[in-house]
């Protein structure tokens, strides 16, 4: 009976969403939603020219229209939406697929929009898992799934452990600690109302703590790489001694890539900014005046600006001249970029090599080294690959602040922010402490999910990550 569709009641609960086309550039990209509320969520943001709502439409139909952000009523995207109602869908749940413009910016905005409307970001392979649990897959496939789970259990544990380390989890851990202390105090007040051992957790105190947590979450969100990149692009600084080919590099990248944003001011005498999309990664390219000690007052202003820009950069392209030996200035540049995400571009390989590659490699450490001949138009592809690789592998990290680079984390942070906002609003409205506590507890739980601490029913969904996300 292998492919017989079984009449098993659907077991799943919330509505999940994910980008189901490969990350990077493409003509179109698809965000898929599955779950009981898939259609309602889509209806909240989708406007068709006829004004007809998706839940009034026939199943297995496709519709043209626009996505709007309900909080601002702004049009976000022009889309085609496929509507597939349960049970004849991949997951046997209601499924909505939003076809939008390709490229990471557009599709991520659409994803963020549906997540804000209450969908939860799907774990890797979760669509497949639902398909299975809802009876779409037969016995032999089920056994394959079992094998997969067995094989992946250890890895999933390791992944969770790795997530527990690092700056982000320390920060989240700190927030949770503050919340749990607040909660503990509330609980003691409730369960031991006559004991004077514990200070009464008053509303002002609760507001104070919640505000602090909210602000910290805001900070985290501000530094979240995707949020930041979506707003302003990955800030990329090209540095190097004069005449090593910085401007040529800038021009090569610009010529090959369509600029995605052009209307932002900021070009100065010394700093040129250009917005380009490199293999789906939005870059804000900055060419600086050469960094070196100088007596020239005018030039020094430029240099100081460069230093500042450098500090705030997400990625540095350090250009070196292959046909010259490393100078003291180069050595200084190595120092300046140490600890930052840097790609070392060895230019002018068309000329006889004099640079000490051994030394460059030493300085580069784990950073990538790319050789180019910009006059011959060689090596630019490799450079672009290196940039995209850094971004998509999530290897970009800043020395100064924590990046929240994972879309799941960002979605959870937004949730946490919304619940702590609820708590604050309630506290300000004079709602009793033990009610406010409900939202504070929820915030604590959500933050726990980020670092894999209070994971409820699904951390293991990781196990299904063998299947392509969104499939």
């Amino acid at each position: 009976m292998s492919n017989q569709v079984r009449k098993v009641k659907n077991v799943h609960f919330d509505t999940i969403a994910a980008i189901s086309t490969p990350m990077g550039e493409g003509a179109i990209a698809i965000v898929r939603l599955s779950g009981d509320e898939a259609v309602q969520i889509a209806d909240r943001i989708f406007r068709s020219p006829s004004g007809k709502r998706l839940n009034e439409e026939q199943s297995h139909t496709i519709h043209y229209g626009h996505l709007i952000d309900p909080s601002t009523a702004e049009i976000v995207e022009e889309v085609m939406v496929s509507l597939m109602k349960a049970p004849k869908t991949f997951t046997r749940e209601d499924v909505v697929e939003v076809n939008c413009h390709g490229g990471i910016v557009a599709v991520t905005r659409v994803l963020q929009l549906v997540l804000k409307q209450g969908a939860r970001l799907a774990e890797p392979g979760e669509f497949t898992k639902r398909a299975f649990l809802n009876g779409r897959i037969d016995l032999s496939q089920a056994e394959a799934v079992m094998d997969l789970i067995r094989a992946k259990t250890d890895r999933a544990m390791n992944v969770a452990l790795n997530q527990m380390e690092g700056k982000l989890s320390r920060l989240i851990g700190g927030l949770r600690q503050a919340l749990i202390e607040t909660l503990a105090q509330v609980e003691v007040n409730i369960d031991y109302p006559e004991y004077d051992d514990v200070e009464e957790m008053t509303i002002p105190l609760m507001i104070e703590k919640s505000t602090w947590v909210r602000n910290e979450i805001d900070e985290l969100l501000k530094t979240s790489s995707q949020g930041k990149i979506l707003r302003e692009g990955l800030s990329t600084v090209i540095i190097g001694r004069p005449n090593v080919g910085k401007s040529s590099l800038l021009n090569s990248i610009i010529q090959e890539n369509k600029a995605i944003v052009t209307d932002i001011a900021g070009t100065t005498r010394d700093i040129i900014e250009e917005y380009v999309n490199v293999r789906g990664v939005p870059l804000r390219l900055i060419d600086t005046a050469g960094i070196r000690e100088t007596e020239d007052i005018v030039e020094r202003i430029g240099v100081e600006k460069s230093r500042k820009v450098l500090k705030e950069a997400d990625l540095i392209l350090l250009v070196l001249n292959s046909s010259e030996e490393l100078s003291i200035e180069d050595e200084r540049l190595f120092e300046v970029v140490s600890g930052m995400d840097t790609i070392f571009v060895i230019n002018k390989t068309d000329l006889p090599q004099k640079i000490d590659m051994q030394k460059v490699m030493e300085h580069a450490g784990t950073g990538k080294v790319v050789t180019t001949s910009l006059v011959k138009d060689e090596g630019v592809d490799e450079l672009e690959e290196a940039i995209a690789g850094l971004f998509f592998e999530g290897n970009l990290e800043s020395g100064d602040f924590t990046y929240v680079s994972n879309a799941r984390h960002i979605a959870l942070l937004y949730n946490a922010r919304a619940t702590i906002e609820d708590a604050l609003a309630a506290a300000e409205a004079g709602v009793p402490v033990d009610m406010i506590q409900i939202d504070v507890t929820r915030t604590w739980e959500i933050l726990g999910e980020i670092i894999g601490d209070t994971v409820q029913d699904g951390l293991l969904n990781e196990l299904f990550s063998q299947f392509c996300l969104g499939k």
């Binding site: 009876g135 079992m146 259990t153 369960d191 033990d434 029913d457 951390l459």
Partner: protein, 629 residues
């Protein structure tokens, strides 16, 4: 000792403490012939520790027992010396009623209820052995050789199993308050293969009221409002006795530190695990050394006695140190100690050996309830008692079993915690143990459970009818307030101004206005009076429901999610060892607990989400296999 047949029953209850009496009364009321065997008929529903019932979480349990048709609420309503509503400054979910009991009156009133109950035989006797055949209970054997046969047996022996009292370096075999301990039965239970743990609890000394200088203490009177736990109580006690508050002095702390070497807690003599939330004075002073003083509450043990319970001074230090400790407390300088405090160690059953019905997994038709299951507190015992009684009687009478869920009652939370997670210390209910505490309020226990009590047969028609009417009135009034519009007339603005709120700018639905924190039902009622004045209880329900609708709604959504997992049943013949993907630790706890649903499995500590996913897949696979086959 020659054995003899002494009778056959549907249900036998061993023990007549707070669990035993509720178990016996509910079983008998359901129509099961019930025998209660207790070592000492004068110790029925005895309170060996504090003379009070209720408080946060526990008070809600008392209401729940009452809504199910149990006795605790009615009896305390008749026999208390003081009642107070706690947490009135907080939200409705955590308000809790607490009563100070007249211990002797409480006991005699409870004894009378048992004596008067049809189908119930109350008998003094010491059970030494359980009669078990083919892993099924058949009856019990007493000290005098009497064999009582029964379809089901409930053990509610509290702290009596191999009980040992400890004071200083003195340790002797004893039940609480120098009662006879239960040794042979304890051995028998072990021999039957049950896993036992050793727990410890303690009680403070008692002093003579006549010798207390109350002028050095603060009075703690009862509330002026007349309260009752039971929904059936119509007569309220107005003549209340106060409690008194004093504090430890620097001398108290010195005494503890000087005599710590004499404390069996610290000398290593006590091995049993004591509760963290109910620390002895030694513990408090050692662990919270920076605190300069601790509260001591003086609570009368009854109207007809001078004995006063010294709450906060629980200790197992030698008696001569206890005397000095008492004298170091302001107001107690000259107080005469009537009984010394002591610690007691006892055997408790590892509660994961029980099904959620409180039937043991090992022996069919055998149930356990109360402190024996690792809990502490009269209310926790009684809550288990009534459920064990209901389930044992149902089994005997061929009726359906009853399990309360975590979203139904604190009793549900309590039993689920015990049978799912077990406990490493005497378990006390706290409001924070409930995920849905906003739904589990003391004020709506009747709304949650009366219908169940009625179906079981513990709630009579009259009370059930009253419940239905109340429910209707609440619903109608909520609908009315959602429909009726309040206009910004001068009368309305006057009322709003009284509350300090901001005036209405435009007409508003009454329900929306009631959502404002400063507005309560009585003001809405003045603005838009109902056709018929509602009862206080109805008004309270309407107000809470409308005011906290958003929060209630959120909780209900969470409950729905949980129920979906609750509905994913695990087949009882599942062999966890055959599922190779599950971690070995999880296999062992799953095999031990044998959860009935995925939801229950996910609450077991040691079972991680990975194991749950694999379990889900495995169960699905089993189903597919069945369909394929």
């Amino acid at each position: 000792m020659p054995k003899f047949e002494a009778g056959t029953f549907d249900v036998i209850v061993i023990g007549a403490g707070h669990a035993g009496v509720e178990a016996a009364l509910s079983a008998a009321k359901m129509g099961a012939t019930t025998l209660v065997l207790t070592m000492n008929l004068d110790m029925i529903a005895f309170m060996p520790c504090n003379p009070s019932l209720g408080g946060p979480a526990k008070g809600i349990v008392v209401r729940e027992i009452d809504a199910l048709g149990g006795a605790m609420g009615k009896v305390i309503d008749k026999t208390h010396i003081q009642m107070r509503m706690l947490n009135t400054g907080k939200g409705p979910a955590v308000r809790a009623l607490r009563a100070q009991a007249d211990k002797v009156l409480y006991q005699s009133e409870m004894k009378r209820l048992l004596e008067e109950q049809e189908n119930l035989l109350l008998h003094q006797g010491v059970v030494e052995e359980l009669i078990v055949e083919d892993d099924e209970i058949k009856g019990v054997l007493t000290q005098v050789g009497a064999i009582y046969r029964a379809k089901t047996v409930i053990i509610t022996t509290g702290t009596f199993l191999r009980g040992e009292v400890i004071i200083g370096d003195l340790k002797y075999s004893s039940g609480p308050n120098n009662q006879m301990p239960s040794i042979k039965l304890a051995d028998n239970i072990r021999e039957l293969g049950f896993d036992m743990v050793r727990f410890k609890t303690g009680t403070p000394p008692r002093v003579n009221s006549r010798t207390i200088d109350y002028s050095k203490t603060e009075i703690q009177p009862g509330d002026d409002t007349a309260w009752a736990f039971s929904y059936e109580t119509t007569e309220f006690i107005t003549d209340q006795l106060p409690c008194w508050l004093t504090y430890t002095s620097p001398r108290t702390h010195e005494l503890i530190n000087e005599n710590l070497h004499l404390s069996p807690m610290y000398s290593g003599m006590i091995k049993g695990k004591g509760p963290r939330y109910c620390p002895s004075i030694e513990d408090k002073i050692v662990r919270f050394a920076d605190k300069s003083r601790h509260q001591i509450f003086l609570e009368p043990e009854g109207r007809n006695t001078q004995e006063v319970y010294v709450q906060g001074l629980s200790t197992s230090l030698p008696e001569h140190v206890q005397k000095q400790l008492i004298a170091s407390v302001p107001g107690l300088e000259n107080a005469e100690m009537m009984r010394a405090g002591y610690a007691i160690e006892y055997d408790a059953i590892v509660p994961t050996q029980l099904w959620p019905t409180l039937e043991t997994k090992r022996i069919r038709n055998l149930y356990t309830a109360g402190q024996l299951n690792g809990t502490s507190g009269y209310e926790e015992a009684a809550g288990q008692g009534i459920m064990a009684g209901i389930n044992a009687a149902s089994r005997a009478l061929g009726k359906e079993e009853r399990v309360l869920g975590r979203a139904d009652a604190y009793i549900g939370v309590l039993i689920d915690d015990l049978v799912t997670k077990g406990t490493s210390e005497p378990y006390r209910l706290l409001t924070s143990r409930a995920e849905y505490r906003l739904l589990l309020r003391h004020d709506n226990a009747d709304m949650r459970l009366t219908e169940i009590g009625y179906q079981i047969g513990l709630i009579n028609e009259e009370r059930h009818d009253a419940h239905i009417i109340k429910k209707q009135q609440i619903e109608e009034e909520i609908i009315r307030l959602r429909k009726v519009t309040i206009k910004p007339t001068s009368d309305v603005q006057d009322i709003i101004r009284e509350t300090g709120g901001s005036e209405l700018r435009e007409p508003m639905k009454a329900a929306d206005l009631l959502k404002r924190p400063e507005i309560n039902y009585s003001q809405i009622e003045r603005m838009v009076p109902p056709e018929e004045k509602k009862s206080k209880e109805v008004e309270e329900q309407v107000e809470i429901f409308i005011k906290y609708e958003g929060y209630i709604e959120k909780s209900l959504q969470q409950v729905d999610k949980m129920k979906k997992l609750e509905n994913k049943k695990i087949p009882d013949n599942i062999d966890y060892n055959a599922i190779s993907g599950i971690a070995s630790e999880a296999k062992s706890v799953l095999s031990e607990v044998r959860p009935l649903s995925i939801a229950q499995a996910s609450r077991i500590s040691g079972v991680n989400p990975a194991d749950i996913s694999i379990l889900l897949v495995y169960i699905e696979q089993g189903r597919i296999a069945k369909i394929s086959g």
